[in-house]
Symmetry: C2
Subunit: 403 residues, 2 copies
C-alpha cells in the first residue's frame, strides 16, 4: 500500500481525492498495489465529509511522515504552495501539481531541488488540464526540434470569444455569462488579460527549449479590446478571432514567445476549437504539426492528470524522469520587434492615407470612413511605427496579427 497526500481541497484537490476513490482499481493496477490518500491538507472545515478524518491543518504532519511517498500540490499561488513543495521535495517526497503560476515562475528551482533529492516534480496538469501535452512533447517528440507551439490555452477566454462569434454577445456580457457559469472567476483579470495563457506558453517554451521563459518578460495581450465589429470583420475575411499563446523558434536557437489575439483562418484545426476547450498545436521538425485537444480545465480532468503524474512518480521511483531547464541566463527570448506577421487593421479615416502608410493586401469599407485591411507581412516594430503614423491622420481602432 502506497500512501499519498493532497495539499489543498478546492476544486482540483477534491477532484484528486475523488479520482483516487472512483478509479481505485485501475490505479492499483497501474501502481502494482493500492494507493491510499492518507492526508488532505486544508485549513477550512470539512468535518462533514465522509473522509473528514484524513484532514490535517499542519503541513509538518505530511512533511515528517516517512510513509508519504508522493504529494499533490493543488493549493495554487506561489506562497505556501512554493514553501510546502520545496519542503516536500527536500523531505524526499515527489510532488505533482496543477499550479501553472508556480511552475512558470519557480519551476526551474523546484526541478533542481527535486533532482538533488532524487524525487520527481511533475506538472502535466498545469497546461491544458486533462489534455496530455507535457509528456507527449517531452517524450513522444523527443527526437524532434520543436519549431513552433501555438495554442488556445485558456478556456475562459475561448468561451467568451465563442459567445461573441456565434451568438453576437458583447465582450462584457459574455464575461458575465462566463462568471455565471463558473467558467470565469470573480476577478477575471488573469484570464482575460492573458496572464494565465502566458504562464502556460512559458512552461511549454521552457520544456521545448530548455531554458526559463519568464512570464514577466513575455509580451501578453488579452481580449478586452476585441469588439463585435472585429469579430464580424474577421468573419468576412474567412477568419475567427482566437487568443493564442505562441512560441516560434528561430534558426539561431532564440525564440519569440507571446500571447495575443489572432485572426486565424476557418480551415485551421484551431479555428474549430470552441467554448471552454483548449487545443495545442506543436510543430516538430520531423513530425510536422500535431495537435492535442480537449477540455482545458474541469475538476476531474485536471485532477486525473495530477493523479497520473503521481502514478508515474510511484512507478519510476528509482529511475525518475529527468526534467530540467536553465535559469533563463541563456537569454533565448527574443524581443517581438522583429517577428513578421500579416496584420488585420481597422482604421477610421481616408483610404488614401491608409494605403500610403500600409502595404495593403486587401481592403474593405464596412462602414463609412472605416476601413478594414489585411496587410502583407510586417515586423512588429514596423507595424507599431506605421500605427503611430496612421494615428496622426486618422484613428487605428484595432490591429491584430493574422495567422
Amino acid at each position: 500500500m502506497i500512501k499519498a497526500a493532497v495539499m489543498g481541497h478546492g476544486t482540483v484537490g477534491s477532484g484528486v481525492y475523488e479520482v483516487f476513490e472512483m478509479n481505485a482499481e485501475k490505479i492499483a493496477r497501474v501502481a502494482g498495489q493500492p494507493v491510499e490518500v492518507k492526508y488532505v491538507l486544508d485549513l477550512r472545515d470539512f468535518s462533514a465529509l465522509p473522509y473528514a478524518d484524513k484532514f490535517v491543518t499542519d503541513f509538518s504532519v505530511i512533511e515528517n511522515d516517512p510513509e508519504i511517498a508522493v504529494v499533490a500540490e493543488v493549493m495554487g499561488g506561489v506562497g505556501a504552495a512554493y514553501e510546502f513543495t520545496k519542503r516536500c521535495l527536500q523531505a524526499g517526497k515527489s510532488v505533482c501539481t496543477s499550479n501553472k503560476e508556480l511552475v512558470a515562475t519557480r519551476g526551474e528551482e523546484l526541478l533542481r531541488i527535486a533532482e538533488e533529492n532524487g524525487v520527481g516534480y511533475m506538472f502535466e496538469a498545469s497546461v491544458g488540464g486533462g489534455i496530455p501535452i507535457i509528456r507527449p512533447m517531452l517524450q513522444c517528440l523527443a527526437a524532434n526540434e520543436i519549431n513552433e507551439i501555438c495554442g488556445i490555452l485558456n478556456g475562459t477566454t475561448n468561451y467568451i470569444l465563442t459567445q461573441m462569434i456565434h451568438n453576437g454577445v458583447t465582450f462584457e456580457d459574455a464575461l458575465k455569462q462566463a462568471q455565471l457559469n463558473g467558467y470565469a472567476e470573480k476577478d477575471p483579470t488573469a484570464d482575460i488579460e492573458g496572464h494565465d495563457a502566458c504562464r502556460k506558453i512559458c512552461i511549454l517554451s521552457d520544456l521545448a527549449l530548455g531554458d526559463k521563459f519568464d512570464p514577466d518578460q513575455v509580451c501578453c495581450e488579452g481580449i478586452t479590446k476585441i469588439t463585435l465589429e472585429d469579430v464580424a470583420n474577421a468573419d468576412k475575411l474567412g477568419c475567427v478571432i482566437k487568443l493564442l499563446g505562441r512560441m516560434v523558434r528561430n534558426e539561431d536557437g532564440t525564440a519569440y514567445a507571446y500571447v495575443a489575439p489572432h485572426l486565424i483562418h476557418k480551415e485551421s484545426p484551431l479555428a474549430a476549437v470552441e467554448d471552454v476547450f483548449n487545443a495545442i498545436m506543436v510543430n516538430g521538425n520531423a513530425t510536422g504539426e500535431v495537435m492535442f485537444y480537449g477540455k482545458g480545465a474541469g475538476k476531474l480532468a485536471t485532477a486525473s492528470a495530477v493523479v497520473a503524474d503521481m502514478l508515474d512518480c510511484i512507478e519510476h521511483r528509482n529511475n525518475r524522469r529527468r526534467i530540467l531547464w536553465g535559469d533563463g541566463s541563456k537569454g533565448l527570448l527574443r524581443p517581438l520587434d522583429t517577428l513578421q506577421s500579416a496584420w488585420y487593421v481597422r482604421f477610421k479615416g481616408k483610404l488614401a492615407d491608409l494605403e500610403a502608410r500600409l502595404p495593403v493586401e486587401s481592403a474593405a469599407e464596412p462602414a463609412e470612413s472605416v476601413f478594414v485591411v489585411k496587410t502583407h507581412k510586417l515586423s512588429t516594430a514596423d507595424m507599431q511605427a506605421r500605427i503611430t503614423a496612421l494615428n496622426a491622420c486618422g484613428e487605428v481602432r484595432a490591429a491584430m496579427r493574422m495567422l
Copy 2:
C-alpha cells in the same frame, strides 16, 4: 556513445537514419550522450549511399554485437520481422517498431519476451505515425478507465473520402489519385478494406483494456461500397462519412471493437480531419474526451516516433516501462450484435414498406422511389434482421452507422 541498429531501409527505415542525422544534437541532449546508428540491415543494394558502410545483410551481426543496445524494426510484415524482433529481445536488446501488423498479432508474446529479458518493446509509431497516442493513453490517462476510443486511423482512406466529399470524385478515381500521389499502395486492400485501421484499433484496445483483441475476430468493413450518392445524402443530414476504428467499453468490462464507415456530424472535431490526417478521440472516465491529431503517416513523422521510443529505451534501461497485455483468454471482445446505433439507410422501394419495417426518425426522397432515412437506435442484430425484411420488399442500397 550509444550504438543502435535499424532493420529495414524502406521509407520509415531511411527516415529513422535521417532523423538520427538531422537531429543528432537534440538526440544527444535527451540521451545524455551521442547515439550512433552502427548497422542498417537490408538485403538490397545501397552501395551508393554515403553511409553504405553501415549496411549489413546478415541479421546475426546485429544479434551478436553486444554494443547494440537498441534496434529499430521497420521491416514490416510478420515473418522475418517477428523472428528478428524475438531474437533481438532474447539477446538483451530493446526493439522499437512501427510495425502495426506485428504488434497487433504477436504483441502480447513479444512484450512478454521483452519483460523476461529485461528490455523494452515499444511501438508508439504503430498507431497514428508521428502522432503521440500510445504513451499519452498509457501514462497521461493512467488514472482513467478508458470508456471509448474512436479514431480516423488510416490516412489513405481518409484521403479518398475527402476527395469524394469535397471534389465529387468517385471512389475508384480517388483511389487512383491516392496511388499516383503515393498515399496508397499498388495493392490497396489493407487500407480500403479497413484491415490497417483494424490492427490499430486492436492495439489501442489491447492497451486500454489489458487483453488481446485479435484483428481476425474484430468486425471490419472498409469504404469500397461508399458512393457519391451516400456522400451527398450525408451532407444533407449535416454529416460527413468517415472510416472509424472504434472501441466501446461496457460496464461489465467487455468491449465492442470494430472498423466501419460512419456518418458523423459536421460539428464533431473528427469531421474536420481531412486528407491524410489522422485523429484519435479517447474518452477517459475522469478526463472526458481528448483528441490527438496530426499526419498519420509520412517518412520523418513515423521515423521520429520510432526514434523517440529508442531514446526512451536508452533513458530507462534499468527501469523500463512495464507494458503487457493478456493473451486474449479473458474474452473481452463482445460480438457486435448488441451494439446500439442510429443508422443511415438508403432504400429503393416504397416508403410505406420502409416505415413499416424501420423506426424512422427522419426521411427524405432524394430520387424517385429512393428513400434516405435516419433511424432511431437499433442493435446491430436487429438492424440486420430488418435489412433482410426490407430486401424482401425492395432493396437496401446502403446502411451505415451514425455517430
